[in-house]
Amino acid sequence: MNNMEEILWNFIDGNCTAEEQKTITGLIAGDESYRLKYQELMQLNNEFSAMELDEPSMAFTYNVMEVIRTEHAHVPLKATINKRIILGITIFFVLTLMTLLVVVFANFNWAGQKSPVNLSLGFTMPDINFSKARPLLEGFLFFDVVLGLYLFDTWLRRRNLAKQV
């Protein structure tokens, strides 16, 4: 009996191979017990498919979203800062310092005799030739000025906005 039910449920669920389907269709058509059981299971299957879903309360979605909104509001400032921005700034400064160091050391006159500072220990300050690095230094200073103006402008805008509020 169980075997018959199992076969028929597989057939109803569509879990049979084409060959099995053909065999079961034949059994339903020719065997009275199979036909009756098939009709019974089909009726149950239709009833199961038609069962109704339960409905949560009207405020369900609102409640869920309220919890999510509250969680977002409680996120500390540290967690909201984009770490990529911090990394970008770090990389910029490290590269700038490295470039400056390379330029300075490249233009270092280690055997220079023209140092204005004469150390008593017989050490003479190296002569630094800034002529080659001048455009780079000018560019760097120009960038700093633009960055400073941009930050100053941002600060002024924020202050004005705070005053308006």
Partner: protein
């Protein structure tokens, strides 16, 4: 008229910071999630708490959703684990969850309630009543299969079982449901006579 966005599109919008997209996702699936939670909790208030918890958990780990399975399969797996945790927290031990006797009380209460409302009952009422009397796993598998639009393989993923195990469990669950439905209807007929 704006066409209905897919679950994946709503997830992408949510991940981009649009919370209203997630609200749409909740509205779309809340009945399925709530019904599934009801199969475990049996009490509306508890089921609502579980369902709410599931959507919050899903939101928190939305970025980890790979999109390899259906969103509903992923969501139902959250419902299943949350429901099981909830039941354990409620001090319903695992052995008693699997013990059909636990649900005899529910069954008796339901039968007593039936007698007073005989005229208003439809077959769907008896079906819901019979589902309530099933073990949580059986009720969940039947709900997922018939209402959750989940295949046997997807149910297996959601419940963390083998597809063959789910197939056997579905077969047994349908048998038990049929027996309970017949018993409830028989009992009702006797009461009417």
């Amino acid at each position: 008229m704006q066409s209905k966005l897919s679950d994946i599109a709503l997830i992408q919008q949510t991940l981009a910071g649009d919370q209203s997209a997630y609200a749409d996702l909740v509205k779309r699936h809340q009945r399925y999630v709530f019904t599934l939670a009801m199969r475990f909790a049996k009490v509306r208030e508890d089921a609502e708490e579980i369902a709410q918890d599931c959507f919050i958990k899903a939101y928190r780990s939305l970025a980890s959703f790979q999109g390899q399975a259906k969103f509903t399969t992923w969501l139902y797996s959250i419902v299943y684990t949350t429901s099981m945790t909830f039941l354990r927290k409620k001090r319903v031990a695992t052995d008693s969850i699997d013990d059909e006797n636990t649900f005899i009380q529910v069954e008796e209460k339901a039968s007593a309630y039936d007698i007073n409302n005989a005229e208003n009952k439809s077959r769907s009422f008896y079906l819901n009543q019979a589902i309530e009397q099933l073990l949580p796993d059986d009720a969940a598998i039947i709900t997922l299969f018939y209402k959750g639009e989940q295949s046997l393989e997807e149910i297996a993923v959601a419940l963390g079982m083998e597809a063959n195990t789910v197939k056997v469990k579905l077969f047994r669950a349908r048998q038990r449901l049929k027996e309970k439905l017949e018993r409830n209807l028989k009992h009702e007929a006797q009461e009417l006579i």
